[in-house]
């Protein structure tokens, strides 16, 4: 594991203007807006504000994790991936740095929305529940890390921008992040429960209701993680294969 590489990879991620706009700005903005509109009720056994807070925190974290795709696509575009092949860096170390940085840059996104929840929206939770919500959210980000690495090695920078915008909207709407799944048409509710975004959001919310996502949720997340990781591995190998 290369600490210098990981540190610089994190710095690069945090310096990106896109990071502040989509990972920090948008989730906080949406949280404040939705909380003022729907914050007063309760949903799934927790207060509306807490429900929205967790939803928007995982929305930002998801964006942060998948944003690794933009860095990878940019590196491929300028030929950096080829330059890396002229170094002793093994493939597994490269993937570890990319995955590690994707997870780590998701943490500020979670923390910031939690802070806004506690300070601005008055969300009060026992310390254990804050920690459990955060911990489960991070674990449930695994498929999104794999998704980011796959997209980065598969797509060009030009395609990636608009595509990830559309993808996040679909994942957020169908996954019950922006509003509860039971407000979706019946036909789409089944789809929602097979999406990783649904289980990501549930992973963060369930601890607040004194529960967890259960083996079914874990299974869906694990399947997505394995499937996307296989696709990512294949795309990575094709990118770095010796001609």
């Amino acid at each position: 594991m290369n600490a210098t590489y990981l540190r610089l990879e994190l710095l690069r991620a945090l310096r990106s203007p896109r990071y502040f706009l989509f990972v920090i700005g948008m989730p906080v903005g949406l949280f404040l807006l939705f909380a003022s509109l729907y914050g007063d009720g309760t949903q799934d056994g927790i207060s509306g504000r807490a429900w929205l807070m967790v939803s928007m925190s995982v929305f930002g974290a998801m964006g942060a994790a998948v944003s690794v795709s933009g860095r990878i696509a940019g590196e491929r575009q300028v030929g950096w991936t080829r330059q890396l092949r002229l170094t002793p860096l093994p493939g597994w170390a490269y993937v570890t740095v990319k995955a590690g940085s994707a997870l780590l840059v998701a943490l500020p996104a979670l923390a910031l929305v939690y802070a806004v929840g506690a300070v601005v929206e008055g969300v009060r939770l026992p310390a254990a529940e804050w920690a459990e919500a955060a911990g489960w959210s991070v674990l449930a980000l695994a498929p999104f890390v794999a998704l980011g690495i796959w997209l980065g090695h598969r797509l060009t920078v030009d395609v990636l921008g608009p595509l990830s915008g559309a993808l996040f909207t679909v994942l957020a709407v169908l996954g019950g992040i922006w509003f509860p799944v039971d407000q979706l048409p019946a036909a789409l509710r089944g789809v929602a429960r097979s999406l990783p975004s649904y289980w990501l959001a549930q992973a963060g919310r369930e601890p607040l209701a004194g529960s967890w996502i259960g083996w079914h949720g874990i299974g869906v997340l694990a399947l997505w993680t394995v499937g996307l990781a296989l696709l990512a591995a294949r795309a990575y190998r094709r990118d770095t294969e010796r001609a």
Binding site: L11, Q77, V78, G79, W80, Q83, R85, L86, T87
Partner: protein, 300 residues
Amino acid sequence: MTQLLLAAGLRIRGLTKSYGPVRAVHGVDLDIVAGETVALLGPNGAGKSTTIDAVLGLSRPDAGEVAVFGRPPAEAVRAGLVGAMLQSGGLISEIGVRELVELAASLYPAPMPVDEVLDRADLTELADRRTTKLSGGQVQRVRFALALAPDPQLLVLDEPTAALDVEARRRFWASMRQLTAAGRTVLFATHHLEEADAYADRVVLLARGRVVADGPATAIKAVVGGRTVRFTLAGADLAALRRLPGVTAAEAHGDGVTLQSSDSDSTLRALLAAEPAARDVEVAGADLESAFLTLTGDPR
């Protein structure tokens, strides 16, 4: 042991590589002794980059062998023995010059100190600048710094001065001389004869995927640095023209005659005396392309 290791710099045997139907290199043999600076000279498409990719282990040869300090290329790269500046290749964004060099250095087992790299690549003043705020020549210097980061024994540079102005070129080669004075081996590709002549101990000429000449820069220059004499003459006797002083090759297309000459002054005097009917006489410095045609005797 050290002597043994030093003696074997780079060794290429029978390197052959095709891209689809295009044969990029065909049976290239090349030996470079440690400490030598060798120019790989040739026009575009001669096989320079293909040869370099094989030396770096970036492509797998169809046939032949490459050994870098007695090891397979990929192993030499992993040991940090090789630094390279590829022809294409930009810099990643959201990172400063020093940070990027730190990143590169962190990947090698025994890197050159970052400050030394910055100094040698003439980047000390630009150390805190973001990579996206650099000029073309500055980017080229950063890419050179990345090649230095492993503190390599072999530096491989594919057209390293392509984006540099005259002054930057001079400084680049001055820095290079310091490095080679410390016993490093350098292989650089160029299509400028002057650059090969000025900075290489030895020049290897590549044309259409083969080595067509290999020798000290002065010898190569005598071969490819000649002149072309063109004129119009009906019914030229090519055999007689080939016997004129300085003439190395003669050919005719209709009434148009072309002579390659290593001494155009003597050739001209003799030509005008022997063939008073020759008209429209032109003398031109031979460009590399036509020099290659002379050497390979195989008009494209």
